[in-house]
């Protein structure tokens, strides 16, 4: 016991000495810690309004507790919206994982087969370009190209694929393909950077050995390149799984309209409409908290998987 107290004291004085010795370093860290405390931890504290009947006049502390009332309101009274926004949030992610995740890997593998370095570099530079275009502009271009008399309809018509133009942006059935497809278009090149870098780290001797064993380029790609970048693929896949409940607010918000809410409305846009536009703060916070909790669960699961398969973990 005495020794414990002693070592505790010793720990404290060591900490004090550390604080004193590295005074300047801690001083530099102060604004950073303050930033995280204020802008990340105070909102976590503010999440309690999900369990209160918050009115701005009474403030967070003064508002009365209502327990799970707001969650009941969401899950029981608005159950139609609950399943719609959860389904939409998950489906947009699932489609993005199925189609969007492999795309940059395939792109990197194909690009790696281009031996002419000028051509290769040109392709790369062009492929990153869409990443730098803002969401507002991307959606502006989408709305223009996919409108009833837009470029896409014109092309499809002149090729004889369509006889009547489709109004893509007002039909719920088209929202997901356009959302996911445009996302792939925008991020394909950017996301391939990391795979290309992983490919360039593969030991060239492996290719020589494969060549001696009689492997052609297809076999080299399948038996050398792909296994070589597999760890990168696994890590990125796990990271991707960890953000399954996050669908970017901006693009959905700019792209959707009441006619496509059926397939387009996601949790974050619903929180925005209910919480900020209708100023039902507690309700919005409850829906947001539900989303954060599910997302946190996915992150923990993803991290466990990562630990198991890659010996790399986020914590």
């Amino acid at each position: 016991m005495a020794r414990q107290i002693n070592s505790k004291k010793q720990g404290q004085s060591e900490l004090l000495r550390d604080l004193k010795r590295n005074k300047n370093l801690y001083l530099m860290l102060l604004p950073i810690v303050a930033y995280y405390f204020i802008f990340h931890y105070i909102p976590m504290y503010g999440v309690q309004i999900a369990f209160k009947d918050f009115t701005p006049a009474k403030g967070i502390l003064g508002s009365p507790w209502v327990g799970l009332e707001k969650f009941r309101e969401f899950f029981v009274y608005d159950s139609y919206y609950v399943w719609r926004i959860i389904r939409n949030t998950i489906l947009l992610n699932v489609y993005d994982i199925i189609f969007g995740f492999p795309a940059p890997i395939i792109f990197a593998l194909l690009l790696n087969e281009i031996k002419n370095s000028v051509y290769k570099r040109t392709l790369q530079t062009i492929s990153y370009m869409p990443h730098f275009i803002s969401t507002v502009v991307i959606v502006g271009i989408i709305l223009d190209f996919f409108s009833r008399d837009g470029l896409i309809n014109q092309i499809l018509k002149s090729l004889g694929i369509l006889s009547e133009p489709i109004s893509f942006m007002t039909e719920p059935g088209w929202f997901r393909p356009i959302y996911v497809g445009s996302g792939i278009w925008q991020q394909l090149g950017w996301n391939s950077i990391i795979y290309l870098a992983a490919i360039s780290n593969i030991d060239p001797q492996l290719y020589e050995a494969a060549l001696i064993d009689g492997a052609g380029r297809f076999k080299q790609a399948i038996y050398v390149t792909l296994p070589g970048i597999l760890p990168t693929i696994v890590i990125l896949f796990i990271l991707r799984m960890g953000s399954i409940m996050n669908v970017g607010f901006e693009k959905v918000y700019l792209m959707y309209n009441p006619l496509t809410y059926e397939t387009a409305d996601v949790i974050s846009t619903y929180v925005y409409r209910k919480g900020l536009l209708e100023m039902d703060y507690s309700y919005g916070a409850a829906v947001g908290l539900f989303n954060s909790l599910i997302n946190f669960m996915f992150v923990v699961m993803a991290n466990q998987l990562s630990k198991k398969f890659t010996e790399t973990s986020l914590w």
Binding site: L15, Y26, V139
Partner: protein, 294 residues
């Protein structure tokens, strides 16, 4: 060692060169289409069907109308303020934080790192954050565009990794010469980490240039609107009446409205697209380091 290519490999090569060329063309072409369309004659463009390969009857009418619309200039001015001020604060905090957290001998380093990294996995959400910003009196001020996003955790981790790679012996010899922490940071670490900082400047500046979420949530007065909100009005809400009041014919007005949209896209996007090829070699490095978390 050279081995003769088989026929199937040659076919694959041809296919691959053409396929990737076409694919990259689809990345480029939408921007080219917008560029050509923006310099076209509005009436001709309306009648035209199919992809454009050059402007139809070169005309700068759309740009004249667009640039005579005061909101464009207000948006540009505000965006430049947000980019410059915001990026400066981002870089200052990210380099200081990255440097300190890369030092090995700090007792509180790991707890603080956990304190920071935890926010990547759990957050209070949109509403509590909004209420906080409101109670700080930042609603409808330029600070709402700058302070709530003063640090990006991913970028902080990238910076920390970057500083890790600076050899310890450099710091030690500076200490022997009597340098303190501030001198080491500004005179030794920052110059050495300059390529890394260039990446950070690009990431943050592009982020501010394209920022939309904070603006839509926190800003009310049009005087503070960044370019992206002005663009949203023009591109998505179709409010170009102010620019086309001088045109009496309805179909002319419709035609020029479409053209103004194209011009607006070009005006808002070209500055970014012009600088990024020059920074490409740096940000590839940044993406790589960002992907490795210790």
């Amino acid at each position: 060692m050279k081995i003769k290519k088989g026929v199937s490999e040659i076919i694959f090569d041809i296919f691959n060169y053409i396929f990737l060329g076409l694919l990259c063309f689809t990345f480029l072409y939408p921007m080219l289409y917008v560029l050509f369309a923006s310099f076209s004659n509005p009436i001709k463009l309306m009648a035209y069907r199919g992809p454009l390969l050059k402007p139809l009857d070169f005309s700068v009418e759309a740009y004249k109308l667009l640039l005579s619309y005061p909101m464009i200039w207000i948006g540009y001015r505000n965006t430049i303020i947000y980019v410059v001020l915001g990026t400066a604060i981002n870089i200052l905090l990210t380099t200081m934080g990255g440097y300190v957290l890369s030092r090995r001998n700090l007792k509180l380093k790991n707890p603080i790192m956990f304190f920071i990294a935890f926010t990547m996995y759990f957050s209070g959400g949109m509403i509590p954050t909004y209420l906080l910003v409101q109670s700080l009196g930042m609603i409808d001020t330029i600070w709402a565009m700058i302070i709530p996003g003063a640090i990006s955790t991913t970028n902080l981790i990238i910076m920390r990794t970057g500083f890790h790679s600076v050899p310890d012996s450099l710091e030690e010899s500076a200490r022997i010469d009597g340098a303190g922490d501030w001198t080491i940071l500004f005179r030794i670490m920052i110059p050495l980490a300059m390529p890394m900082i260039a990446v950070m400047i690009l990431f943050y500046a592009v982020g501010h240039w394209n920022a939309f979420f904070n603006a839509i949530i926190y800003l009310r007065s049009r005087d503070l609107y960044p370019l992206q909100l002005v663009l949203r009005e023009i591109l998505i809400m179709n409010s170009t009446e102010n620019m086309t009041t001088g045109i009496s014919d309805a179909s002319d007005r419709f035609a020029i409205t479409e053209l103004i949209k194209y011009a607006a896209i070009i005006v808002a996007t070209v500055p970014i697209l012009c600088i990024y090829p020059f920074l490409q070699k740096y940000f590839v490095k940044g993406v790589m380091i960002g992907a490795i978390k210790e």
